[in-house]
Amino acid sequence: MSSIVIVLFDGFAFGMLLFVLSVGLSVTLGLMNFINLAHGAFGMLGGYAAVTAMRLLGFPFLLALPTAFLAAALLSIVLERTLFRRLYGAPELNQVLLTIGMVFVAAAIATYLFGTVQQVIILPSWLRGSVEIAGMRFGVYRIFLIGIALIVTALLVFGLERTRLGAQIRAAVDNQRVAKGLGLDVEKIFGITFALGSGLAGLGGALAVEIVGLDPSFGFHFLVYVLIVVSVGGLGSITGSFVGAALLGIFDVAGKYFWPEIGSFLIYLLLVAILFVRPLGLFGKR
């Protein structure tokens, strides 16, 4: 019984990590229909930024997290201006190829700079260990992860529902032509959303180091998870990403714990089954 609770907890925590990594892609895909397979690479960048900031600059962990966010967001602005923007409205194959090419290049650069070894982050002591509740031990860092994800969710929901930018983003996701007709600068809105989404991926990458480690294959490895979250949840839906990420996290951890031989098989079976029944994802509208 208690192992089920722990597995659910660990799975949910992992899901929350996936949520932070993928929610940005869900919103940008819903907004511009741009298939950005390099999203996971921004997560990797965030991870390396955090590791470097702590190791070379002596940043504390809590300062390394916003550093990771900023690094990914800034680079995404540069790349959006120079590369991504050229392919808005281009055939999806070209978007897929360009961004997959970027993942390859990013992995090679990471190898060149950091080697293929697994990177580690030394957590502050208050994030290590576990607390005991009702006779079960819960990892402090995982509680921290869930807390961060909930804060991010709250900020996103509040930001989208209550702020001017949020209203503009929602309008643009719903109907770009109407939004343009209303005089909104859709390109600028997208640029900002893109930077925020990539920043969140960077934050997720930094948070992920402790859980899954970090090496140059991160961009590829997590891309698949991120894409599952986005497609199962439905494009442009924060609720969808949240539910999709929680489901994936729980099934992944539970599958590997209870049925180690076929754990990853189950995930993909679920993916294919859900998309077969609901091609637009659980919460997708278009």
Binding site: L29, L93, L97, G101, A107, P216, V224, Y268, L275
Partner: protein
């Protein structure tokens, strides 16, 4: 501008124009003759040449769905691998005759392709990428879990393939292998060429150009898509079977995502939707990898990644499209 032609435009010129579109050009004949050169000029490279022919056949199968019907797939290695395992297991069961083995593998992969095609036609865009990716990984994980059948990560050793027509033995230097793979590639190419120049090929181009219009001209385009997906799956299965029969080993990597990604890279390098792009792309990709074998695979992918970005940004029709534009031929924008 072509007033002279339009003045006497009539049914005959229309027919002839259509016929001209599918005529063999001297370039094509020279191209195929050139593929015989390895026999005489680089006999030490015959095993590589076989690998190229197999990869080209695989890329050709992807071109049929991606280049002609516009279905983007991230999981076509699934059918390559199924074909490879089908041929290998048939041989393990005691039947190593190459042609029937090939046929068996193609039919098996085509059957699975037909079954999955019902899913493929239901979805587009990201969901399509994810379903193809998901089915590909699913098959890989399944093969891994069924290691009693597939040999798991250790792979299978395939019994030596019997001589073709009971006469051509598979030799150590790869003469027979290259002859065999090239012949199968050529036959599949001829069939593909016939297909893309048929009314069905026209329907596929219609789907690629404007899928929304197809129902409005009375087309049941889902059936077209299912048909080409099945044909493509069977052809990928043939390529996989060739690999199993000529190398006598099959390992899990026949099903890997990398293989699905590599084949798309080859196709895009060569140029999609022109059949020859698949072959040219396979040659460039595998020769380059062979020449750069010494470097770290990570850096190999750096160049691949960079090349992909350059092709997308500057040569959207691939290297063949780029060359034919340089030559000022029909592909102007």
């Amino acid at each position: 501008m072509n007033q002279a032609m339009s003045a006497n435009a009539n049914v005959d010129t229309a027919r002839q124009w259509l016929k001209r579109q599918s005529r063999w050009s001297p370039f094509e004949i020279v191209f195929w003759l050139a593929l015989l050169l390895p026999f005489f000029l680089f006999p030490t490279y015959l095993p590589l040449a076989s690998q190229i022919a197999i990869a080209a056949l695989f890329a050709l199968s992807v071109d049929l769905i991606l280049g002609y019907a516009g279905i983007i797939t991230l999981g076509h290695a699934m059918f390559f691998g199924l074909g490879a395992y089908a041929a290998a297991l048939l041989a393990k069961a005691g039947w190593s005759e190459p042609l029937t083995g090939l046929l068996f593998a193609g039919v098996f992969a085509g059957l699975i392709g037909f079954i999955t095609s019902f899913m493929i036609v239901r979805v587009q865009h990201l969901a399509l990428l994810m379903i193809t990716l998901g089915l590909g990984v699913l098959t890989l994980e399944l093969a891994n879990a069924m290691s009693w059948l597939t040999g798991g990560t250790d792979g299978l050793r395939v019994p030596r393939t019997w001589p073709i027509f009971n006469y051509f033995r598979f030799d150590l230097w790869g003469y027979t292998s290259y002859g065999y793979t090239l012949a199968v590639l050529f036959i599949c190419f001829l069939l593909s060429r016939l297909l893309v120049n048929s009314s069905f090929g026209l329907a596929l181009r219609g789907i690629r150009e404007n899928v929304k219009r197809m129902p409005a001209i009375g087309s049941d385009h889902h059936r077209h898509l299912q048909k080409i997906y099945t044909i493509s799956a069977a052809m990928a299965g043939l390529a996989g079977a060739l690999l199993a029969q000529t190398t006598s080993t099959v390992a899990l990597d026949v099903l890997s995502f990398t293989r699905s990604a590599d084949v798309i890279v080859m196709l895009v390098l060569g140029g999609t939707g022109r059949l020859y792009g698949a072959i040219v792309g396979a040659i460039i990709f595998l020769v380059a990898r062979d020449q750069l074998a010494g470097i770290n695979p990570q850096y190999w992918y750096f160049w691949i990644g960079l090349l992909l970005m350059v092709v997308v940004l500057f040569m959207p029709k691939g290297i063949l499209g780029f060359l034919s534009r340089l030559a000022g031929r029909r592909d102007n924008d």
